[in-house]
């Protein structure tokens, strides 16, 4: 009896979770000319390529896709490097008052973005960084550093200090110790931090719509929003195809590096 209820419950949940995904795929495949104003529950054709092409070129997802790929990859890498160096300073090296510096950096993930937006907008307008790729990349790095720092710091505290001490006695410099000992030993942790920050930057909407405007600067989620606002004119198949395209990179990363993702989640909860 209990077992039956449990199985039914799990099956029901799985079904509920699959239906939206199923509808997403089915309707993204429907040829946009044959869409009749209501959702299709069965496959009507296989026109994904055309729908994607429409979303990609006419709705400007393509430009934003490339821009976001640049933002996510570069900012993810820079943030992880910057965060790893800071974690090295706080955990391994004798920086005075490490707790103060920890909370200074960590506060960046704590507060809602709304707390930073208005002054950032003013700052960017003054510095001519508004609506530039450089401006967005700078703020993405700053936004990604705190959580990457948190993940990397947690992992770095598990490394035995004897390693560093031995290397110091052998006459290695801090730089050498960092690059030759900590970076190689923490490959998995750094990878997890990069995946997280890549995903975070890729999925960002709020910073994108606040600090940029033009099509070749806006990140991809902002472009998707613009496309969605033209719901009736461009038609659901094209919009859903756009949603599918912008989800592909993170979905792919998640499926390929599932272990690393889960490891990052576990580390973030300890």
């Amino acid at each position: 009896m209990g077992r039956v209820v449990r199985n039914l419950f799990v099956a029901g949940c799985v079904l509920l979770w699959l239906i939206p995904l199923y509808l997403l795929v089915v309707n993204a495949l429907t040829p946009s000319t044959e869409y009749e104003g209501r959702p299709d529950w069965t496959f009507q054709g296989f026109d994904l390529v055309d729908n994607v092409r429409t979303a990609w070129t006419e709705a400007g997802i393509g430009d934003s896709f490339q821009a976001s790929l640049l933002y996510a990859a570069v900012c993810g890498l820079v943030a992880v490097l910057v965060a790893a160096m800071a974690a090295f300073a706080v955990v391994v090296l004798p920086i005075p008052r490490p707790a103060f510096w920890f909370w200074l950096i960590y506060s960046g993930t704590l507060f809602p973005l709304q707390m930073f937006l208005a002054p950032l907008f003013g700052l960017y307008a003054d510095a001519n960084l508004y609506d530039t790729r450089l401006g967005l990349m700078l703020v993405y790095v700053a936004w990604a550093v705190p959580f990457a720092f948190f993940l990397i710091r947690n992992q770095m505290t598990t490394m035995p200090p004897e390693l560093t001490e031995a290397a110091l006695i052998d006459g290695a410099s801090f730089g050498r110790i960092f690059w030759r000992i900590h970076v190689p030993l923490m490959r998995a942790g750094l990878g997890a931090a990069f995946l997280f920050q890549f995903t975070a930057v890729w999925n960002d909407l709020l910073l994108g719509i606040t600090l940029s405007r033009s099509a070749d600067v806006q990140p991809v989620m902002a472009a998707l929003t613009t496309l969605n606002n033209a719901y009736s004119s461009s038609g659901p198949p094209v919009i859903l195809a756009g949603a599918l395209v912008v989800s592909a990179p993170t979905l792919l990363l998640f499926l390929v590096f599932r272990g690393l993702f889960l490891r990052g989640i576990t580390a973030s909860t300890r």
């Binding site: 799985v14 300073a89 004798p94 208005a118 700052l123 700078l138 989620m221 969605n228 993170t250």
Partner: protein
């Protein structure tokens, strides 16, 4: 038992860094001599007076992070606090003291927004967290349970924006949900989900649940896996099963994970922006706004920058207050935190 579990959860973090004195009594003595310097924690390899550089040697390593975070996050934070005492339309600003805050009290939009925010928090505890717990327990040690968890965690890899676009397709008046309800003869259940309060906020919470439950399932599943077998077996010997097992063994053992899940879920629900912005833009007539939306609309659509900053500060206080238990857990090694 709780301590036992925590110790197991953290075992991988601490076993290398600080070997238990009991297991290595021979080493305890020389270690103590080396660690006399108060500034040095077990993790720090180099003493302040070490041969390379002195206390400032670490600074260049931390400088890039401090520069990024300081200029682009910490400075704007304090500038926001400062700006919340001004009436500012983006061009001219005038000091008005705590006017922005007193205005909040009798602004009906803010009241509705606060109510919606509370609905989001309550809904998040009720749906993604409770459902996540139930699914994790139900799929634990179940055949194909891993696959079921995988399906439910899949939307986690999709952005909130894409989720919103998909759910717009589901929830719009001639969308898939209404079509389904009419198809099975529940015509009276079909409604304009996104156009009336309160069902627009409730519909948004359901859409959020679809995306956010998976991660909680994963976290609870991790918690379930580290429950010691002996405890479960001992309870079984004592005749516990079903509900009693869940209530008196599983649930107490999950307490540590629950703090994390609740903390993360509540913070995320307070920060939720993308989903609501794309699905309803906070409307119609601002009825589905939460504080995150209200701040954005006031500051960037209506150019009430100071008023927006005041709302942002209220939201920040709520975020920090509601995640306090979770934050304290983030820093369990308090010796280090005291610096």
């Amino acid at each position: 038992m709780r301590a036992h579990m925590r110790a197991r959860m953290r075992a991988h973090m601490t076993e290398i860094a600080t070997p238990a004195p009991a297991s290595a009594p021979a080493e305890a003595k020389p270690r103590r001599v080396r660690r006399r310097v108060p500034h040095r924690t077990p993790h720090q390899a180099v003493r302040p007076s070490a041969r390379l550089g002195g206390p400032l040697a670490a600074l260049p390593w931390a400088l890039p992070a401090f520069a990024f975070v300081g200029v682009l996050l910490v400075y704007p934070f304090f500038r926001s606090v400062y700006g919340s005492f001004f009436e500012d339309d983006g061009f001219t600003s005038r000091f008005t003291g705590i006017d922005n805050y007193t205005r909040l009290a009798d602004d009906p939009v803010f009241g509705r927004s606060l109510l919606n925010t509370l609905m989001w928090v309550a809904g998040t505890l009720l749906l993604p967290v409770l459902l996540g717990l139930l699914i994790a327990v139900a799929t634990h040690r179940m055949r194909f349970g891993g696959i079921a968890q995988m399906v439910i965690v899949l939307p986690f890899a999709i952005s909130a924006a894409a989720t919103a676009v998909l759910w717009n397709f589901m929830l719009t008046s001639d969308g898939a949900v209404n079509q389904f309800l009419r198809g099975v003869g529940l015509d009276s259940w079909a409604q304009t989900w996104l156009l009336e309060w309160p069902q627009n906020t409730l519909a948004l919470i359901v859409a959020g649940t679809w995306q956010a439950t998976g991660i909680n399932v994963v976290l609870f599943a991790i918690g379930l896996r580290v429950i010691p077998r002996d405890t479960v077996e001992a309870a079984e010997l004592d005749g516990a099963s079903g509900w009693r097992m869940f209530r008196y063994i599983t649930l107490p053992q999950l307490r540590a994970v629950t703090v994390v899940v609740v903390g993360m879920a509540v913070v995320n629900s307070l920060k939720a922006f993308d989903l609501i912005w794309i699905l309803t833009k906070g409307g119609p007539s601002r009825s589905s706004e939460t504080l995150a939306l209200t701040m954005y609309r006031e500051a960037f659509r209506l150019f009430h920058v100071g008023y927006g900053s005041a709302i942002a500060l209220v939201l920040s206080v709520i975020v920090v207050a509601s995640s306090w238990a979770y934050l304290r857990r983030q820093m369990p090694d308090t010796g280090w935190a005291r610096g």
